[in-house]
């Protein structure tokens, strides 16, 4: 009988503490969490409807409506303030908007999981918290990327012609942005005691970030600072310049319509820094939780 016990404990050990078996296990866990995010997103019809209707509203109604006003008149000569139509101008910003909504929405599921218990199922598993976070963020990134692609389908319609090479670069930026935004959502969600509904997020996080990102009106760098100040109050300029999303929008504009308000390198750097810093914060939160 003693032999039986020893055989059993030996078996236990070999199953669970083989050193090489650890890392693949963690990867499977990340995959599981990622897959779950994806499945939930695909099955959530309201999220899909939002992902399709939002770009249509912004492009078809707002874009077409404001298109004629997006120009300046200098000595009777009509010219565009920015050498693009309004539709072209807001198109990259709508990509960012759509991704912003989606990634924050999927990050908010952290709160749902906590409130409705599923998080416990993960917390009693041997999966490290960091792997849970990574799976979650990668899942959100993938879904956000998908919703960004929905907007890209409208590109012909708004006279934006994108070469294959540009698409590649654009997708890379979008993926990085999706990662950063989902992590932002997770960081916010971790700080919430209770879940008040998605409207709060939409009004307090997503829309302010979006409107303050030079997305729907340009701060023309061709104007001097004094000239800009004549058009816009200081606080607005300040907020726009400190909003990281400004540079994300700028990066996508650079890729898709070839227009940059800032140094073309700024955008990718800011997005990358956002991703790294926010993920570090989220990681720290998760380890503590």
């Amino acid at each position: 009988m003693i032999d039986q016990l020893e055989a059993r404990t030996a078996a236990d050990r070999s199953v669970t503490t083989t050193p090489g078996a650890r890392n693949p296990t963690v990867l499977w866990g990340v995959y599981a969490v990622w897959l779950r995010e994806l499945k939930r997103a695909v099955r959530d019809r309201s999220q899909l409807i939002g992902g399709v209707s939002r770009p249509l509203l912004w492009v078809v109604i707002l874009g077409i409506g404001l298109n004629p006003y997006f120009r300046g008149e200098v000595y009777g000569e009509v010219r565009f303030v920015v050498p693009y139509t309004y539709l072209q101008y807001i198109f990259p910003a709508v990509i960012v908007l759509n991704m912003l909504y989606t990634s924050v929405q999927s990050a908010v599921s952290v709160v749902w999981d906590r409130e409705f218990g599923f998080l416990r199922e993960i917390l009693v598993s041997p999966l490290p918290r960091g792997a849970v976070l990574l799976g979650k963020v990668l899942g959100g990134t993938t879904v956000a990327l998908g919703h960004g692609l929905i907007v890209l389908l409208l590109s012909r319609f708004v006279d934006v012609n994108i070469s294959l090479a540009r698409i590649g670069q654009g997708l890379l930026f979008m993926a990085l942005l999706g990662f950063a935004l989902t992590t932002l959502g997770v960081v916010i969600a971790n700080r919430l005691r209770s879940f008040e509904g998605f409207g709060v997020f939409s009004n307090l996080v997503i829309l302010p970030l979006y409107f303050l990102s030079s997305s729907i009106f340009p701060m023309d760098p061709a104007l001097t600072r004094t000239q800009t100040a004549v058009h816009y109050p200081d606080w607005l300029i300040f907020l726009v310049h400190w909003n990281p999303i400004t540079y994300a929008v700028d990066a996508l504009r650079g890729v898709f319509i070839g227009f940059n308000q800032f140094d073309p390198a700024t955008g990718p750097v800011v997005i990358g820094a956002m991703a790294v810093v926010l993920f570090a914060v989220a990681w720290w939160d998760f380890r503590r939780a």
């Binding site: 009988m1 003693i2 599981a32 218990g117 009693v124």
Partner: protein, 395 residues
């Protein structure tokens, strides 16, 4: 001993003329107690601890020597205390569950059962004291503990947007169960809890009882040997409740599982080998149901009186009486002449009288001085289910 049992449980047995029912009983006993020879008290601490503890590198790392002498136990709790703010939830709780045993933690809501379970499943840390599960310290090696246990929470922790199969698959993946083993386990468990026809149904469409069964199955996908269930039958109708216990019995018959179950339904603890009564964070008794009945059982006379005067009279002349409500008393007694005398004396003051034979209810009443507050519990259950439903609607 177990060898003997094995031989008589071979299928050829009936031809040897052994009564038909015997193999079955032996079989059950064999499965339930298969590892018990290892844990037979005196020998286990004497021979196992030292040899398997240090020499063979049994997976107790950094444990004190006292700990290693107890590794034969699946669950070992030593003077664990926990408080929430100023409220003590657990006070010096010690207990032990041997491999293959089933333990019921019985107590009213708020007694500390869930807190204890959360400490054992590494969700909470104890303020003081020490606990090991499967030989690992729950504070020092939480991940080793988690690998070896299955947990079924009081509230559903299923993802109701995923299908039955997907929930199980998710669990297998995050526990790192290899694909082939995972598929086999899922198939087997779904058949066991009779959900194989619902494999691809979204969990949203399942009834409460089916969800519970699914959660029990899920907790075992990674071949857990120790299963913790927190109020597994709460909020279910009587039929589903007994079904859940039926599945647990089946499970324990088909594999070697140590079971720790919390419940506040006193009738259910009969399904377990041992009962640990917890009240206000303290362990009050810990024994087999039969032994508890034998030791603490008492016959009770339950009386409903019709006036406060009568209530006072009776409590004065029977100081052993326990008051249950303003007009209700439970009086322990022995011998049938007591009833006759009592009725003679107080017959006019009594609205109703009821004789209760020795049962776990009477044991509980004697040990805690109160009844299990079932009505109150069902009220909170209702609140919980309303909240849960509300949550679903507002999503």
């Amino acid at each position: 001993m177990s060898a003997f049992i094995r031989t008589i449980t071979t299928p050829r047995l009936p031809s040897l003329g052994v009564p038909c029912s015997m193999p079955l009983i032996c079989f059950v006993h064999d499965r339930l107690s298969a590892p018990r020879p290892l844990g037979e008290h005196d020998t286990s601490t004497a021979t196992f601890g030292p040899t398997s503890g240090h020499g063979r590198g049994r997976p107790v790392r950094g444990g004190r020597s006292r700990l290693t002498t107890r590794t034969a136990a699946s669950v070992f709790v030593d003077r664990v205390s926990k408080r929430y703010g100023r409220t003590p939830a657990l006070v010096d709780v010690s207990l032990e569950v041997e491999p293959g045993q089933s333990l019921a933690l019985l107590g009213p809501n708020g007694a500390g059962k869930t807190t204890l379970l959360h400490i054992l499943t590494t969700i909470l840390r104890p303020d003081s004291g020490m606990a090991t599960v499967a030989g690992f310290d729950v504070v020092k090696h939480p991940r080793e503990v988690r690998r070896r246990i299955g947990m079924v929470f009081q509230e559903s922790t299923l993802d109701d947007r995923l299908s039955v199969r997907e929930n199980l698959e998710f669990h297998g993946l995050i526990f790192g169960v290899p694909r082939r083993q995972r598929n086999a386990a899922i198939k087997e468990l779904l058949e066991l809890v009779e959900l194989d026809n619902w494999r691809d149904a979204e969990v949203r469409s399942l009834s409460g009882g089916m969800r519970r069964r699914l959660e029990i199955a899920r907790a075992l996908v990674h071949q857990a040997r120790i299963l913790f269930l927190d109020e597994p039958t709460v909020g279910l109708d009587a039929q589903s409740r007994s079904l859940i216990w039926e599945y647990l019995r089946l499970l324990r018959r088909s594999r070697e599982i140590t079971l720790v179950v919390t419940t506040h339904y006193i009738g259910e603890v009969e399904n377990c080998d041992r009962v640990c009564i917890i009240d206000k964070g303290r362990v009050i008794a810990n024994d087999a149901p039969d032994a508890l009945r034998r030791e603490h059982g008492q016959e009770l006379l339950r009386v409903t009186v019709n006036s406060a005067d009568a209530f006072r009279d009776i409590t004065r002349s029977h100081p052993e009486a326990v008051s249950i409500a303003e007009d209700r008393l439970a009086i322990p007694f022995e011998g049938s002449e007591f009833i006759a005398n009592f009725v003679n004396r107080y017959g006019r003051a009594i609205d109703a009288i009821e004789i209760e034979r020795s049962s776990l209810e009477t044991v509980f009443l004697k040990l805690t001085g109160s009844e299990l507050r079932d009505e109150k519990a069902s009220h909170t259950e209702q609140m919980r289910s309303i909240r849960r439903r509300g949550g679903e609607l507002t999503r």
